[in-house]
C-alpha cells in the first residue's frame, strides 16, 4: 500500500529556518523520528510538536513512546542553480508483542529539542485502523520514505 504525505504548517517554517538558527531542520544532525498515532484523533496541520492533536499509540506491546529514530540516512545535494537535498533512511519497523497495538497515522518529525517550535514535518494516513497482533508477532515495515527539498531563486 502506498500512502501520500500530508504537510504540517510548520514544515515550511522548519525548512526556511534551516539548521543555522538551531530551530529549523538540519537533516544531517537532527534526530528524526517516525511516530505512530491511533485513529482516535486526526493530526492537525497546525500542530507543531508530536503528537500534537494526534493520539500517540500507548507505550508497550511493541511500540515505544516517541516512535523510532530514523537511521542510516544518506543525503545529497548538488548544483548551484538548483539546490536539492534528499535524505533516505533505513526502513522503520515494528514487531507487535503481548497484546499488540493499533494505529492509523505515521508521523515524521524532528525530535531535536531546539526544533520544538517546528517539530512536525509530515504525516501519512493509513486510511483505516491497522491492528498488529502481538500473539502472532505481526510486523510493520515502512519503506519508500524520503524527504526532498528544492529551493531556487527567481527574478520577477
Amino acid at each position: 500500500m502506498a500512502l501520500s504525505p500530508n504537510k504540517y504548517n510548520s514544515t515550511v517554517q522548519a525548512l526556511a529556518r534551516g539548521g543555522a538558527s538551531g530551530t529549523g531542520l538540519l537533516l544531517n544532525a537532527d534526530t528524526l523520528k517516525m511516530g505512530l498515532c491511533t485513529a482516535a484523533t486526526v493530526p492537525a496541520a497546525a500542530d507543531t510538536t508530536f503528537p500534537g492533536t494526534g493520539t500517540q499509540v500507548a507505550n508497550g506491546n511493541g511500540y515505544t513512546t516517541g516512535g523510532v529514530s530514523l537511521t542510516g540516512a544518506t543525503s545529497n545535494s548538488g548544483g548551484t542553480e538548483t539546490l536539492k537535498t534528499t535524505a533516505n533512511f533505513a526502513n522503520p519497523t515494528w514487531t507487535a508483542s503481548a497484546a499488540g497495538f493499533s494505529l492509523r497515522y505515521f508521523v515524521f518529525y524532528d525530535s531535536t529539542a531546539a526544533a520544538a517550535v517546528c517539530q512536525n514535518l509530515l504525516f501519512w494516513d493509513y486510511g483505516s485502523t491497522l491492528t498488529l497482533s502481538g500473539a502472532n508477532g505481526d510486523t510493520l515495515d515502512l519503506s519508500g520514505s524520503n524527504f526532498n527539498t528544492t529551493g531556487w531563486a527567481t527574478l520577477v
Binding site: 504537510k7 515495515d141 527539498t149
Partner: protein
Amino acid sequence: MKIAQSTDCEGCGQRIGNEDFLLATDGISGKVVAFHKRCNPADPDLQRHYSVSLTPAQFATTLNWGR
C-alpha cells in the same frame, strides 16, 4: 523481511514483492513458507507482515525580489 519478499507465494506462486504477507510453518517439513495476504490462507494464527510505502514529499522555496 527482505528474504521473504524475494520468495514466491505458496498460494499463487507469484513473487511476494512489496506486498503484505503472512508466514506459516509447514507442519510436515517444518519449512517456513510465505503467502500474500490477498491470497487469504485459511489459518487465522499466521504471523502477518504489513508493508507500507510512504511516497516522498516535495518542497519548494521561491525567493522573489525587485517587485
